[in-house]
């Protein structure tokens, strides 16, 4: 992969609870420049919550989160924004601005850039819609789009500022297999061509194993394993094995 061993996102002993209920328990991870890092886990295991912590949208109870070496713990909102400009996030439920057109959504991150001409903005918008397979939808409203289309607009919106770190929350959930493959290829191409570091959250094991350099599994709030897909396929951990094989019987309590 030719990646440098430069830590981009570092999470140390991250503990987070909501209303006294622990959601994440001493989770640690470290990703490198250009790496695609996968996070898998059962529904409700705290995958989205982990991304929200990394983005600084919620404050952890304890532990440390570093983005390109800078700790985001204790930063105020304005200081956090200086870190967030390096990052992009694709939300699980898209979170498009529903009062704006697709064009306004996609170009939101560039709306204060006076150095880009309107025609250049238009071109960038078309280009980004094109790569997520939505060319020509500029003037539509989010309410007129299907769930999968909304998701892809969300990806285009996050990519427009060319962030060096991308957080994808279930990027291909709700997409057809062809479109899912297109998005996967996009994630890989960004990391290969631009050194974009990606953290991809999903419960689609096969997809993630074809995509990620390393995969972490969250179970009951803990990071129980973190290894390459090949190693995880032959893991002795019963929980990992059950999850990877998608078996109904096993140690995972349903």
């Amino acid at each position: 992969m030719g990646q440098q061993r430069e830590p981009v996102v570092q999470v140390r002993d991250l503990t987070y609870s909501i209303g006294g209920r622990p959601i994440l328990d001493r989770v640690s991870l470290e990703t490198h420049r250009g790496e695609v890092f996968g996070v898998m886990g059962m529904s409700g295991s705290g995958k989205s919550t982990l991304l929200r912590n990394i983005m600084g949208l919620v404050r952890p109870d304890s532990g440390d989160i570093r983005i390109e070496g800078q700790s985001i713990i204790g930063l105020n909102e304005r200081e956090l924004n200086r870190v967030r400009v390096k990052m992009g996030m694709c939300f699980q439920y898209s979170a498009l601005f529903d009062s704006m057109t697709v064009r306004e959504n996609v170009l939101f991150g560039l709306r204060e850039r006076r150095d880009i001409s309107p025609s250049e903005l238009e071109r960038k918008c078309a280009e980004h819609l094109e790569i997520v397979g939505l060319a020509g939808t500029e003037d539509q409203m989010p309410a007129e789009l299907s769930g999968g289309m909304r998701k892809r607009v969300g990806i285009a919106r996050a990519l427009i500022t060319q962030p060096s770190i991308m957080l994808y929350d279930e990027p291909s959930a709700g997409l057809d297999p062809v479109m899912a493959a297109v998005i996967d290829r996009l994630i890989l191409r960004l990391s290969a061509d631009f050194g974009t570091t990606a953290i991809v959250v999903t419960h689609e094991v096969d997809e993630l194993f074809g995509l990620a350099d390393r995969v972490m599994m969250l179970y009951e709030g803990r990071a129980i394993v973190c290894d390459t897909p090949e190693a995880l396929r032959t893991s002795d951990n019963q929980v990992v094995r059950q999850f990877v094989e998608g078996a109904a019987e096993g140690p995972i309590e349903v």
Partner: protein
């Protein structure tokens, strides 16, 4: 979660639980006061640092100002007419019916204009702000803003604050004029009133200070509407029924705060 929070009180004697309930109310009041003050300060910082976005501000001004005009006009013309009716009778009994117009103008500009216009805007605009921002909160659009390094206060609250701060006084000025005109319509309709004399004492003795002071009060009310509406939206809990609650609360809090602030400001501004 709320169940667990409340359950200990069932075992306490009534007095203690009443006391702790009161205590909670007092804490809730002060934390509300603290949060809204904090929002106001954040908005002012954004304003001073030039973070106001003009496009959204103009759209909000159109929504707050232009779109509120019909309901403001209806409210004020009918208020002016009923006040005109009463004042015609009262000034007639006192033998000063030439002053009916003056009394209507004073009533409108001092109290009814600022308060009625603000209540109408609170019901129409404050609730819409709470609902819109609350929906954005629930659907993670506020988080999406933050993830894109955009402050929801600068992007959402600041334009609404400016729009309310400018358009509520403007609406009040227009409302004052419509109200006084409503009184005049009544003077024309009522035979015992000398319609020709209605306007005579308005420009001569009526002080510009009265007009400006009333409009000044309405600027404060406008800011209250924006702060309360935006605060309810931005702090909405993550469920759709909470959006409804936030909307209702925004109207109730706006109305209570407007009445309270009006009493205070009236005592401060109008002396002698």
């Amino acid at each position: 979660m709320s169940l667990r929070g409340e359950s200990p009180h069932f075992s306490l004697p009534g007095g203690a639980s009443l006391l702790s309930a009161t205590g909670r109310q007092v804490i809730a009041f002060f934390s509300y006061f603290g949060e809204t003050t904090r929002l106001q300060l954040d908005i002012l910082v954004g304003l001073v640092k030039g973070r106001l976005e003009y496009k959204t501000t103009i759209a909000e001004m159109a929504f707050v100002g232009v779109a509120s005009l019909p309901v403001v006009a209806v409210t004020m013309i009918f208020s002016g007419m009923v006040i005109g009716y009463h004042m015609a009778i009262v000034t007639g009994q006192l033998g000063v019916s030439n002053y009916a117009g003056r009394v209507v103008a004073e009533t409108m500009c001092r109290e009814l204009g600022p308060v009625l216009v603000s209540i109408v805007v609170a019901a129409r605009v404050g609730s819409a702000m709470a609902a819109e921002l609350g929906t954005m909160k629930v659907t993670e659009q506020i988080d999406a803003l933050r993830a894109m390094a955009t402050s929801p206060v600068d992007y959402l609250a600041l334009p609404r604050w400016v729009a309310c701060g400018l358009m509520v006084p403007t609406l009040t000025f227009v409302g004052d004029i419509i109200g006084v005109t409503g009184g005049y319509l009544m003077a024309v309709l009522m035979p015992e009133l000398n319609a020709g004399a209605y306007w005579t004492h308005i420009p001569g003795t009526f002080e510009a200070y009265t007009l400006v002071a009333g409009i000044g009060k309405s600027a404060v009310f406008g800011i209250i509407i924006a702060i309360v509406g935006c605060h309810q939206g931005l702090t909405c809990k993550m469920a759709s029924e909470e959006v409804g609650r936030a909307t209702t609360r925004s109207v109730v809090y706006c109305i209570m705060l407007i009445y309270g602030a009006n009493l205070f400001l009236t005592a401060l501004i109008f002396r002698g």
